[in-house]
C-alpha cells in the first residue's frame, strides 16, 4: 500500500507529510501534528468532540481520512486564540458562563460554535441548539453552553455595530 503525500494549512501553518491512506484526520492531527485539542470521543461520528473547521465547514475529523483533507485549510481549537494568547470571544465566554465541566467536549463545542457564528452571527436559542446538535456534552445539560455562545455572539457583533 503506497503512502499519500499530503499538504495542508493547519491553524495558518503549512504542513506537509507522508501518511498511510487509512490515517484518519483526527489521528494525523493528534499524533503527527501534536494538536491534541480535538478529542476522540465516540470514534463513530456521533459526539462531535473531534470537530475541526475544514475549508470553512465544521466536520468530524474522525470521519475523514487525512488524505481526503489534502489541499485543505484546517482550524482546530489551537487556532482560536490570538498569537499573543488572548482568548477568542467564544473561549472567554465559555469560561465566563461556565460552559463546561469536565471539558472533554469543549474543543469540539467551541470549534463548532465558531463556525455557527460565522454562518449565523445572531442566532436564536433554538438555532444555537440545532446548530450544535452534532456535539454531545454529558456534563452541563447544555444551558451554559448555549448562554456562552449567545454571549460570544454579542461580543463578536458589538465592535462592528459601534463602528457603524
Amino acid at each position: 500500500m503506497s503512502k499519500s503525500h499530503i499538504k495542508m494549512t493547519i491553524n495558518g501553518r503549512s504542513v506537509e507529510a507522508l501518511v498511510e491512506p487509512r490515517t484518519l484526520l483526527i489521528h494525523f492531527l493528534r499524533e503527527d501534528q501534536a494538536l491534541t485539542g480535538p478529542h476522540i470521543g465516540c470514534d463513530t461520528g456521533h459526539c462531535g468532540a473531534c470537530t475541526v473547521d475544514l475549508d470553512g465547514k465544521s466536520v468530524k475529523s474522525c470521519m475523514v481520512f487525512a488524505a481526503q483533507a489534502d489541499g485543505s485549510e484546517i482550524t482546530t481549537i489551537e487556532g482560536m486564540a490570538a498569537p499573543d494568547g488572548t482568548l477568542h470571544a467564544l473561549q472567554e465566554a465559555f469560561r465566563e458562563h461556565h460552559g463546561l465541566q469536565c471539558g472533554y467536549c469543549t474543543p469540539g463545542m467551541i470549534t463548532r460554535a465558531y463556525r455557527l457564528l460565522q454562518e449565523n452571527p445572531d442566532p436564536s436559542v433554538d438555532e444555537i441548539r440545532y446548530g450544535i446538535s452534532g456535539n454531545l456534552c454529558r456534563c452541563t445539560g447544555y444551558q451554559n453552553i448555549v448562554k456562552a455562545i449567545q454571549a460570544a455572539a454579542e461580543t463578536l457583533s458589538a465592535p462592528k455595530e459601534a463602528a457603524e
Binding site: K60, M63, F65, D70, G134
Partner: protein
C-alpha cells in the same frame, strides 16, 4: 478504531473514475462523503483494497434546473441541498428531509449520491426519491444508463449498482407549483435513523387530490413505495376517511425489524402516525 489498509485514488473526471474502477475490479470501493463507508471501514465490516474518492470530480457537484427537471450531482452535500434557494422554493421537501438527516457536521460532508446509492434502508433520501419518482444516472467504463429509483433497491445494501458502477446524478421532475409535501421522521435522537418515516407529496386541483406520492423509510429491507396508499388519497378531498384508508394500506406493506428502535409492531404503528401527519401537513401546504 483503525481501518484496514488501502490505496487511495482521487480521479479528476467521471471517465477516469470509471476506468480506475474497471482496472481495480471488485477490491475497489467508491467513496463520496464517506459518512456511511468510513464507519464501516473502522469497524472492518468493509475492507476495500482501493478507495476511489469522487471529491475532485467537478461535474458531480452542483444542482441544475433544466426546465421542469432537476439534476442534482451525486456529490452535492446535504448542506448544499439545504442551502439551495431554488430547490427550497420549488421542491421544499428536499430541504425538509435533508435537515432531518444526522447533524450539521455530517450534512457538510454527507452527499445526496452516497445517501441514495448506499442501499441502507435507514437512509432518508431513498424514500423521497421513490416519492419523486426520480431516476439515477449511472456510469461505468462501458457507458451509462439510467435506473428509476423505484427499481433500484433490491434488498438491504443490495441495489442495481454493479462493480465498476458510479452513480453520478439524480434527476426528477418538479412536483407541480402549488403542491404540498412533507417528510415526517420519528427518531430517538439527533443522528439516529428513523424508527419510521414517511414522505408525502400531494397535488390538489379544486379541493380534490389529483396526484399523490407516498414512500416510507426504514420499515423494510428497502425504502417502500406505498402505491396503494396513494390510490386511497387520489380523487378524494383528503378527508379523515381517506387519510385513515391511506394509513391502513401504508402500514400493511411494512416489515420492520424489531431492534433498539422498538418492536416491529410499534414501528409499524409509528409508520401510520408518520404517514398521517405527513399527509395532513402536505394537505395544509398545498395551494
Amino acid at each position: 478504531m483503525i481501518p484496514g489498509a488501502f490505496d487511495y485514488h482521487r480521479p479528476a473526471s467521471i471517465g477516469d473514475a470509471c476506468r480506475l474502477l474497471a482496472d481495480l475490479g471488485d477490491e475497489a470501493r467508491v467513496v463520496a462523503g464517506g459518512h456511511s463507508l468510513i464507519p464501516m471501514m473502522k469497524l472492518r465490516m468493509a475492507m476495500p483494497e482501493h478507495l476511489v474518492d469522487l471529491r475532485d470530480i467537478g461535474e458531480l457537484k452542483g444542482i441544475c434546473f433544466d426546465g421542469n427537471q432537476v439534476v442534482i450531482g451525486a456529490m452535492a452535500t446535504q448542506a448544499d441541498v439545504i442551502a439551495s434557494p431554488e430547490l427550497s422554493e420549488k421542491c421544499p421537501i428536499l430541504r425538509e428531509t435533508a435537515l432531518q438527516i444526522a447533524d450539521p457536521q455530517i450534512r457538510n460532508l454527507g452527499t445526496l449520491g452516497g445517501n441514495v446509492a448506499n442501499g441502507d434502508p435507514g437512509n432518508d433520501m431513498p424514500a423521497l426519491m421513490l416519492a419523486l419518482n426520480a431516476t439515477y444516472e449511472i456510469h461505468n467504463a462501458g457507458g451509462q444508463r439510467t435506473v428509476a429509483a423505484r427499481d433500484f433497491y433490491e434488498a438491504a445494501f443490495f441495489t442495481a449498482l454493479q462493480d465498476g458502477d458510479v452513480l453520478t446524478a439524480i434527476r426528477f421532475d418538479l412536483p407541480a407549483p402549488g403542491h404540498g409535501a412533507a417528510y415526517h421522521k420519528q427518531k430517538r435522537k439527533i443522528g439516529d435513523y428513523a424508527t419510521a418515516a414517511a414522505a408525502v407529496i400531494l397535488e390538489m386541483v379544486g379541493g380534490t387530490c389529483s396526484r399523490a406520492s407516498i414512500a416510507l423509510t426504514n420499515v423494510g429491507d428497502t425504502p417502500l413505495h406505498a402505491a396503494a396508499a396513494e390510490a386511497a388519497i387520489v380523487g378524494t378531498n383528503v378527508d379523515d376517511a381517506a387519510i385513515a384508508a391511506a394509513r391502513a394500506t401504508a402500514t400493511s406493506i411494512t416489515a420492520p425489524a424489531s431492534d433498539g428502535r422498538g418492536p416491529a409492531e410499534f414501528r409499524t404503528f409509528v409508520t401510520g402516525v408518520m404517514v398521517e401527519r405527513a399527509i395532513r401537513d402536505a394537505r395544509s401546504r398545498a395551494a
